[in-house]
Symmetry: C2
Subunit: 157 residues, 2 copies
Amino acid sequence: MHPIGFESHDHRHCIAEGVSAAEARCAEEGLQFTPVRRRVLEILLEQHRAMGAYDILEVLRAEGLGSQPPVAYRALDFLVSHGFAHRIERLNAFTACAYPGADHAPAFLICRLCRTVAEASAAPRAQLDKAAAEAGFLIERAVIEAEGLCPDCRNAA
Amino acid sequence: MHPIGFESHDHRHCIAEGVSAAEARCAEEGLQFTPVRRRVLEILLEQHRAMGAYDILEVLRAEGLGSQPPVAYRALDFLVSHGFAHRIERLNAFTACAYPGADHAPAFLICRLCRTVAEASAAPRAQLDKAAAEAGFLIERAVIEAEGLCPDCRNAA
DNA sequence: AGAGGCGATGTTATACTATATCAACCCCGA
DNA sequence: TCGGGGTTGATATAGTATAACATCGCCTCT
Ligand SMILES: [Zn+2]
Ligand SMILES: [Zn+2]
Ligand SMILES: [Zn+2]
Ligand SMILES: [Zn+2]
């Protein structure tokens, strides 16, 4: 799957789809899409970048939605555990899922200059599955993150 | 390349090779393989597991080699930046390189029960390179980490 | 209506991970 | 001998994450 994040696109679509996919899944599964959770997802969806929990907390605090770390971490845990957002291990940060609703094994391309995060899906996972199978290892979660320069920053440099 | 770490093997060989590869490279490149750096590498080499900086610091402290966090972090930075050890992002921890001397793009299989870390090399990286190339992204560093159950823990469960 | 359960939130405190900063030291070469 | 680069010592602080417990709202069962 082609990575989403670098190329210019109708980003309102990403936002709308991200929110509505979450809404739908929560309705289906009886999960509570509370104001804090919705707002945190919206904040993440505003751009294809990774944000730290404390960055998000700052926004919540300014809006009166919560002021202590657990508020942000709980919302993020909810979003991540249900696949509406992903944790970027390399940055200790979070980003909205670019393929909400799809069952997928994400891989990320992280620009170290503009911090844009593009999400690719599936393909890079295949070889890892193969290596794991050979070793008798059962993969429960895979972290695939590449750090470098996005096309724009590459051209600028 | 077949992952190193799960299967039983002559582990003294891993230790000896890890230390001597580092020794050799440091001699070649005029780097200082100081007592703290050597000892930290030895600690990491003792088992195919990831250790946190503070775990390592505890050992150093007990041996009188240093007692403050920067001591451990500096040694680890040195080892990682020269490829003698790797950082495991998923665990905020470190492990000795299983292919010292080889120019390689590591991928890790991390057991969530016994914390054993096996290092595979090269193959899982290919698809990621492909996805990146298509997107015009320049990879400078890739993190490929799978978390799950190793063969032993799988059988035990 | 009242009791109880459950999940979400509020709040405080604390644990864990990592780095900035500056002083001291050591080795080596000018 | 003097200086410079790199390493170490030591203090302080920044940044990330969770434990623990009180409270609240909502639904359900009696
Ligand atoms: Zn977008
Ligand atoms: Zn996704
Ligand atoms: Zn070994
Ligand atoms: Zn295991």
